[in-house]
Symmetry: C2
Subunit: 348 residues, 2 copies
Amino acid sequence: MLDKFINNPGEWLKGKGPYSDVVISSRIRLARNLREFLFPVKLPVKSRADVVNKIDKVVKEAKFSKPLFKFNMESMDILDRHFLLERHLASLEFINNPKGRALFLSKDETISIMVNEEDHLRLQVIKSGFDLPLVWSIINNIDECLAEHLDFAFSADIGFLTSCPTNTGTGMRASVMVHLPGLIMTKRINKVLNLITKLSFTARGLFGEGTQALGNFFQISNQVTLGLSEQEIIDSLRNIISQLREQELGARKYLLDKQGPAIEDKIWRSYGILKSARLIDSGETLQHLSLLRLGVDLGIIKGITRAMLDYLFIIIQPAHLQKLQGRVLNVRERDFIRAALLREKLGG
Amino acid sequence: MLDKFINNPGEWLKGKGPYSDVVISSRIRLARNLREFLFPVKLPVKSRADVVNKIDKVVKEAKFSKPLFKFNMESMDILDRHFLLERHLASLEFINNPKGRALFLSKDETISIMVNEEDHLRLQVIKSGFDLPLVWSIINNIDECLAEHLDFAFSADIGFLTSCPTNTGTGMRASVMVHLPGLIMTKRINKVLNLITKLSFTARGLFGEGTQALGNFFQISNQVTLGLSEQEIIDSLRNIISQLREQELGARKYLLDKQGPAIEDKIWRSYGILKSARLIDSGETLQHLSLLRLGVDLGIIKGITRAMLDYLFIIIQPAHLQKLQGRVLNVRERDFIRAALLREKLGG
């Protein structure tokens, strides 16, 4: 079943949607817990199946806009689990300890629910481009739909109760993945990120908490979920991303005006290396793909779509490569196959 | 007149001839002086014209296999003079002080004579590939032909007399330009060059004395001209180059056997950068062209001839680029035009 996903990029990798020159995707996740069960951190492992079964039943009965498929994490091999991580559909903690955990997933990957991660439910909706209102309306529908059948742990004073107090309240984290090569190349990035932090938002790397800003990607998300309404969080984030995009586009314009030939040279060289290399690791690939995306965004490189690039960002990851090959690969083999894949996709 | 040369690579850039996988060209030059004049270092500048006129007359009368064209260095602009330097047809000292100096040159650049460099005559014959006997037979014919009409400064005890004692005797320097990327990549180069030095031969960079080993090229030549016959010098050099080629081919085989994918990767990346860059300096270009030539020699890269590469090694030099453009270019402009030229020639 999971194999069907490998060759079809999720909707959020379509490189479409508003502001797609800077914004890759918009995502909201909601943390929810069932009142009748101990929270996952306290719940005996053998009881986790009861939570999964309960949610499975509700998902089947609920009238979601898209059907969700259930994946039992325990019976899934490590490669498939890493595939989900690379696809931004599961967390590292979730895939590393699969016992009694399940994932529900729509075919286009827009909707997913991790069951028995830190909380009983972690709903996620992700779309390409910058469209938090749309994402919110989808996830809010699902949440309301589930709430009709499930009794969520909720306090009238505080809001939704969660395992970690940082999620208590709305239980919401809204995050937007942005591509900021201009701010990095003009060395303005730290100033901008500091400002974001002061506004109680946070910037993380490509794979969330604790990961590096590979390929000039950042996930901007809210730090506070308590004492604010969902709409307030979304509005603040929209505001920040709008300004961030202005800053990034300004930086790109500055680079083109002041260092045009040097920037074009960097971009074309990255393109040349991606089309030529016979061995390439994922870190270097992300860096070159980032410059190539900048080249496409600036109209310097023609004939390559953002969708292709955003898809490449994902499939050059280790688990994706191994899924594509249908076998476990060592680092050297991956570097070899990654290079071959890039040449194939970019016409090298 | 000189403009006719720019678009036609000299014979020695044809990438042909024996051992052309390692040997770019074979060259012999003979230093000769006229008994009736003071040597150039002592000769008053105003008398230099007398030497030029004398030789011009003889060249016109002599029955050389190829006609020689005369270039007055003083009336030649600096760009054209640098063009001759890059083309290995004149020395740095010769072009920097053009007063009273002249160059005689055959259309295919095989034969050249610098007049009033350090010695009255510096005859040079250069051919592609490894063919010192052929080069010797050509230059020996010219030398004999000239000797019929000119009275060379010669001592029965010592041989030909020259301005610098290191050239006295045969007045001959035989040099072979070799491409040694394998020995450099396997870090065996210093050992091999030390051995050559012990045998009284010397290894210089691409543009002769005092220049760096750019692009993995070396000129191997004799240090001693006194007390040995021309044939002995040529035989020793032939011997050394044969062994050097074996060493280089051994190193290439070792690299392919032990680090095949990594070497292929390096070669393809160099090719990719040459076909993609929008700004590139000559040092980096030589390095990538060197790897590309290795790729062609190893059969990894198809569809590019050695002749094309050997020609590119020359025309990416500053004066060549400026001659091609027909105007003086600053460094930045050269980097830009060099990159465009490489893309055009390599189908980038």
